[in-house]
């Protein structure tokens, strides 16, 4: 059979008529997993909390109008500040802000000599990094790096993954038993199953308080007050409200995102350890048109980072904003041109440069602007750091080597 550009369409005509069975796609599950992934893809790190892979504002190609609406990033006072927890340490970025930074890259060791691996998160100090390796022909292997030394985390089940690590090295993660999610906690070298089925732990503090969600397409926020206790549903503002917890601070304060119905506008909620809660004010002070809410994505120090929620289909907005727990003020996050952020420490951002075709992993700081990071090859393949420490000198993530294999790497910037 001869085939060339002139007759290819005719040759392939029989395939166009292929009798494909009706799609078996569960949109409710897609939405539920997307929400879980979106939450997980934000870098969290409130005094000992860090969620795995980060993705704050990926600007997509293909003619998408991704312009930002709203005012310049000027902090605006609100009438409803929330007292910062006493144990929250400020981010230790250099002061004064550097005007130039030089970064070096290093491959991280991986257990059993496996090459394919990535870092998805870490604790705010950067002492602990978490990720996965991919042994050939085997299921992924969760890994924790402690001071640069790699250890396997023996989570049972399928598709095991680590969600977060606290600054004393307590780790939470999840895997699948069939179609059921199972949560785990890892402390002192021991893995213990968290009680509850279809639960997804999202963060843990140094005291071992775990927050997360029950997930059956729509999420219900949960807390495990101790690693051995049964999960308790966190109280919600109304009977039909849904949501998930984002972070737990060392004083037990929990932060999450809730909505009045499955399709309602997202609001940020703060639970006290005794279950008392309050909703953050709607950030109308940012002057983003049609603002109806604020969804929290991550917490570092006193800073809650998230998205401004709007309710107007014709408005293009992906406005990223932050709420300062200490001052009770919102501010719009900076949006450097030609930069897609994948993580933040509340002050500096990591991500990659745009356009996507020539993307390079990068760091952005107010004093330096975009700093391109060194890579293993000239083609970065949209690799990027997923983690940045509070001090900003340690970044970690993945980089593709000359064989096309993703490697776990760290960058040091000074």
């Amino acid at each position: 059979m001869y085939i060339d550009e002139n007759n290819a369409a005719d040759v392939f005509a029989p395939l166009r008529e292929a009798n494909v069975a009706p799609p078996r796609v569960d949109l409710e599950a897609a939405i539920g997993i997307a929400r879980l992934r979106r939450r997980k893809h934000r870098l969290a790190g409130a005094s000992g909390v860090a969620v795995a892979v980060a993705a704050i504002a990926i600007v997509l190609p293909l003619g998408i109008n991704a312009t930002r609406h709203g005012t310049p990033p000027v902090a605006s006072a609100t009438s409803d500040p929330v007292s910062p927890p006493a144990t929250t340490a400020p981010a230790r970025i250099p002061s004064p802000a550097p005007t130039s930074l030089t970064c070096t890259e290093k491959l991280l060791p991986v257990p059993d000599g496996v090459t394919m691996a990535l870092v998805g998160g870490g604790d705010p100090t950067g002492r602990y990094l978490i990720g996965r390796s991919y042994p050939k022909g085997q299921r992924p292997q969760p890994v924790i790096w402690v001071g640069g030394v790699a250890h396997k985390v023996p989570l049972p089940g399928d598709d095991p993954d680590l969600s977060a690590v606290s600054s004393n090295g307590t780790v939470v993660g999840l895997s699948f038993a069939g179609q059921t999610m199972v949560g785990y906690i890892y402390r002192d070298g021991v893995v213990s199953r968290l009680k509850g089925t279809n639960v997804a732990p999202g963060a843990v503090n140094n005291a071992g308080v775990v927050i997360g969600q029950q997930d059956g397409g729509v999420a219900i926020p949960l807390v495990w007050h101790t690693p051995n206790s049964s999960p308790e549903k966190l109280p919600l503002p109304g009977p039909k409200w849904l949501g998930y917890a984002t972070a737990v601070l060392d004083d037990g304060t929990m932060i999450g995102t809730v909505r009045p119905t499955a399709a309602g506008a997202e609001q940020t909620i703060i639970w006290q350890p005794d279950g008392a809660f309050r909703l953050l004010p709607v950030p109308t002070s940012l002057h983003v048109p049609h603002t109806v809410g604020f969804s929290s994505a991550s917490v570092r120090g006193n800073i809650i980072s998230g998205n401004v929620v709007v309710n107007k289909p014709t408005v293009t907005t992906d406005a990223q904003a932050s709420y300062d727990l200490a001052t009770g003020t919102y501010s719009l996050d900076p949006q450097p041109p030609r930069f897609a952020a994948t993580g933040s420490n509340g002050h500096w951002m990591v991500g990659f440069t745009l356009p996507q075709e020539t993307a390079r992993p990068a760091l952005w700081t107010p004093g330096t602007g975009i700093v391109k990071l060194p890579t293993l090859t000239k083609k970065a393949d949209m690799d990027a750091p997923a983690f940045i420490s509070d001090s900003g000198d340690l970044l970690a993530g993945q980089d593709t080597d000359k064989h096309g294999v993703i490697r776990a790497v760290e960058w040091r910037c000074h």
């Binding site: 059979m1 009798n19 494909v20 799609p23 569960d26 949109l27 997509l60 998408i64 499955a262």
Partner: protein
């Protein structure tokens, strides 16, 4: 996302699921995998819906997600999220009537590298212009043309070999 955004998402995706399934099936040649591919693409689309809904050409944008997800799958098989356990046997491809020629074409397509397969499928099964394919795959028009040429050359070899074997078998 707000209620309107969610409603828009569900309405849009629901209407396009059959078309997306056809594209996914053309790319991967397997009913089960095609469903997984569409499921994963729908998930990715929801994550990006706030910006995606304002794309100049949303259909092209969603097709691009399917194609890129498929290519990613072939490069990064660990990346897929398990959404279903074992599917019922009745949904498998065995129930699909097919011609010998179509089977041969599908088999030959499956042996192409993922990038070449995507280019061939988009251009000749879905009549997507070269410039659009380039944008969907994030490469130049020249790359699309060269991928097309290489893909067709490999298909010729594969189909010629099959013809030879058929003739030899019949004689």
């Amino acid at each position: 996302m707000g209620p309107t955004e969610d409603d828009d998402y569900v309405a849009y995706v629901s209407a396009r699921l059959p078309a997306l399934k056809r594209l996914a099936f053309a790319l991967c040649g397997d009913e089960h995998h095609a469903d997984d591919l569409v499921q994963e693409s729908a998930t990715k689309l929801y994550v990006r819906w706030r910006t995606a809904r304002n794309a100049d050409n949303l259909d092209r944008y969603v097709r691009a997600i399917v194609v890129r997800t498929h290519i990613d799958d072939t490069r990064r098989p660990w990346f897929r999220v398990r959404l279903f356990g074992e599917l019922p046997e009745s949904s498998g491809s065995a129930s699909r009537p097919d011609t010998d020629g179509a089977n041969a074409l599908r088999s030959a397509l499956a042996r192409l590298p993922a990038g070449q397969r995507a280019v061939i499928v988009l251009r000749f099964l879905f009549d997507v212009p070269v410039s659009d394919v380039a944008e969907m795959l994030g490469c130049s028009g020249g790359t699309v043309k060269s991928q097309t040429a290489h893909g067709l050359a490999k298909l010729r070899n594969l189909l010629d070999a099959r013809d030879f074997m058929t003739i030899a078998k019949e004689s």
